[in-house]
Amino acid sequence: MGVLTWTRRGVLATGTALALSLGLPAAAQTPPGVLIVGQIAEPKALDPAAVTAVNDFRILMNVYDGLVRYKSGTLEVEPALATSWEISEDGTEYAFALREDVSFHDGSPFDAEAVVFNFERMLNEDHPFHDTGPFPLAFFFSSVASVEAVDELTVKFTLSEPYAPFLSNLAYPTGLIVSPAAVEQYGADFARNPSGTGAFTFAEWRSNEAVVVEANPDYWDGAPALQAVVFRPITDANTRTAEMLAGGIDMMVEVPPVALSEFRGDSFRIFEQAGPHVWFLILNAKEGPFADKKVRQAANYAINKEALVNDVLEGTAEVAAGPTPPAFAWAYNEALEPYPYDPEKAKALLAEAGAEGAELTFFVTEGGSGMLDPIAMGTAIQADLNAVGFDTRIETYEWNTFLGEVNPGLEGKADMAEMAWMTNDPDTLPFLALRSEAWPDKGGFNSGYYSNPEVDELLEKARVATDQDERATLYKQMQEIVQEDAPWVFVANWKQNAVTSDRVEGFELQPSFFLLLDEVTKN
């Protein structure tokens, strides 16, 4: 018996010692000068032409530069690898003067031939390195008819038709410039061995653990203050929050609304920034109750958007007034007021239209890019609609399935569907989702079959206008008409958020939702 007791005590002692020695060296502080960022997923690739996710853009924007970029804090284009440009009268020729003495991280020079290589690789199926794709967003540049190197530092794009969003598409990650020498060297593995001209140089990619980038001391726009940045994929939002609280990461993005309160205090900083995002309900204007404009307006009055953004989304979004997010400051119509929450007016409109008790089928998704909290939002919307006399039935789908149901059009299936878009130009969303020419059978995203010739004309005109003020006037008119016609219920504009520890300085969130780290420091 004595031996048993001793053994038991021994086991206990050994166990305690083991636990203590494993646990005691308290979780090490992250080193100064090295920023550890909690990302939401493993990147797909570090080849800007091959990726589509904001998550991947957050890394890429620090490794590569484009010919142009967004001015900090805005969505307006400014010079980057191109120092200036000239646009021909008819808006079909863009000549860029390139920055001198810029090299890729692999040492090869950046010049006009490199730019030509980049766009040929993406757009020309016969290019020897076209097979390093697929390039899913190449259609951003589908209007490019040819790219030529005029001389060493001048490159000319010829468009098949005038296309005003061209410049802001060049500022989008799909337009970032990669090193031709590195593509030639690595082929399909280039996406794991990236080389650009950006503020940070790629160091290593440990699958499912981290992507590490290091400061580029020769960066043309001034070497970054940080020594290195580590991007850690932490897919579970709760774990990401815990890791931030535990000090294992210095910065996290996409903080769940309910977790934000954990970070109110001196040791953390919370950042919020409204971006070019709009969350809306597509209404089926072709058939059923929403074919009547009054009923569509009634839905806009019936839904309590304030409650959605404040209670469901905990203040991480703002009420949307129309189809264009306010982040596009130059093109946003400030005069637009959101539809107020007015159930009585909604009831009156329904009575006028004779649509009391109308049955609605409502497609809701379980998640998805930019969809915020779609199930909770869908449920609240259903309650609001039923309160004014609709009879709403929800059908819920997993995101990919949902897109497969909604994108081909709602006809015969549903009266309304949730949707959200993040874009880089005020042209993109209305052009792809509100024109008569953008009905699903014509290859667009107008899944609710809205059609107004006036809107069509305004959008066509805005796309070919090269003067920004002229474009702005056209977009503002469009927003007024669309708000009145109510093809959608305009719900929310998402404010992206991020949290950093108090050791991080000089960080700002951008309206583009990109994560730019070249000015950030960490003590």
């Binding site: 018996m1 031996v3 048993l4 494993l22 646990g23 005691l24 308290a26 979780a27 090490a28 992250t30 090295v34 550890i36 997923a41 493993e42 797909k44 589509t52 996710a53 794709g133 697929p134 899913p136 259609f139 399909a188 996406a191 794991r192 699958s207 499912n208 653990e209 981290a210 580590v230 850690r232 994929p233 932490i234 897919t235 579970d236 709760n238 774990t239 815990a242 890791e243 609280l245 535990a246 000090g247 294992g248 998805g368 890019s369 930019g370 997993e398 995101w399 990919n400 399935t401 897109l403 497969g404 994108n407 081909p408 949707m419 959200a420 993040m422 792809l432 699903p440 290859g443 995203f445």
Partner: protein
């Protein structure tokens, strides 16, 4: 013996073929396709069609299946489009991580579970028995992912004893010690339920044996109590405990999925969940086939071992 092994290996081929057909059919039939998943809101029919062509998904299903199978037979599992690396590299990496986690948990639940069951049985209705029974009830009632989250909150966020997630530190050397620090919480969280089940079964198996006449004989002839319990009774009880351990091995391996999600462990379960959400067809198919092949192989090894140990199983 050799012919028995050969027979078992040959009989595994139709099983594996069946698995390839099922997993291929599932991935072909579920709604949503990789091109839509990649393009997200930009998934126009035109873009989807072009991307499917680029991905080689425009060919008829039978042809795609044949190409996939033929490549796999030659050891080429294809390339994951969502991770942009060979499927087999990824699966091997991830499977290794899962084995480390599940293996540790399995050892933990076997040793602790059996020991707790034995002590519990030896002190039936004593304080130790009641304490252990209560702990076991608690253990099998707590969902492992919930326990994992609570452990992170307490030991990583509050006390900062252990890192909250991951398998290796972001900086510094990779040696056994840091692996153990990262492994402790997930392995414990994963082992708790299995430990409870093993302890319960070990207790009843022991009580059954302790009632036998030869135990009374052993005691009567003066064998010390420790010897009676650990040497005579436990050896006999192991016969009914070992099959349970086998089942728990499977349980721990599949339960690793949740734990891998909570602790961001880079294992194969998390890989498959991510791959399914992204409709990464080749990664899902390759991962499932690989894991299934391992199970089949494991079963053959167990059967062969059993036939070696137990002459009643005909070869």
């Amino acid at each position: 013996m050799g012919s028995y092994i050969l027979k078992r290996l040959v009989s595994a081929i139709p099983v594996l073929l069946g698995i390839t057909v099922i997993v291929f059919a599932i991935m072909a039939l579920i709604p949503g396709d990789p091109a839509t998943a990649i393009l997200g809101s930009y998934a126009t029919p035109e873009n989807v069609e072009k991307l499917n062509r680029d991905l080689g998904l425009d060919k008829p299903a039978v042809q795609r299946y044949a190409i996939w199978l033929w490549n796999m037979v030659q050891g080429d599992f294809g390339r994951s489009f969502s991770l942009n690396r060979p499927v087999l590299d990824e699966v091997l990496d991830r499977f290794g991580a899962t084995l480390v986690l599940a293996g540790t948990s399995f050892v933990l639940c076997s040793v602790v579970g059996v020991a707790a069951g034995v002590v519990s049985a030896a002190r039936q209705y004593g304080a130790a028995d009641r304490g252990i029974t209560f702990a076991v009830l608690l253990g099998i009632s707590i969902p492992s992912f919930f326990l994992g989250m609570m452990m992170i909150l307490l030991f990583a966020v509050r006390l900062r004893w252990f890192p909250a997630s991951g398998m290796w530190p972001i900086y510094g050397d990779r040696h056994l010690w840091v692996l153990l620090r990262h492994l402790t919480m997930p392995a414990l969280a994963l082992a708790v339920v299995a430990t409870g089940v093993v302890a319960r079964l070990a207790r009843s198996a022991m009580l059954e044996v302790l009632r036998q006449d030869y135990i009374r004989t052993a005691r009567a002839k003066g064998v010390p109590e420790r010897g009676v319990i650990w040497r005579h009774a436990l050896r006999a009880a192991m016969v009914s405990i070992i099959p349970v351990l086998g089942i728990q091995a499977g349980f721990v391996l599949s339960g690793a999925v949740y734990i891998e999600m909570v602790f961001q462990w880079p294992g194969v379960g998390r890989m498959l969940v991510d791959a399914i959400l992204k409709r990464d067809i080749l990664l899902v198919q390759g991962g499932v086939v690989f894991v299934a092949a391992c199970y089949v192989l494991f079963n053959i090894v167990v059967d062969v071992a059993q036939s070696l140990l137990d002459p009643r199983i005909k070869t």
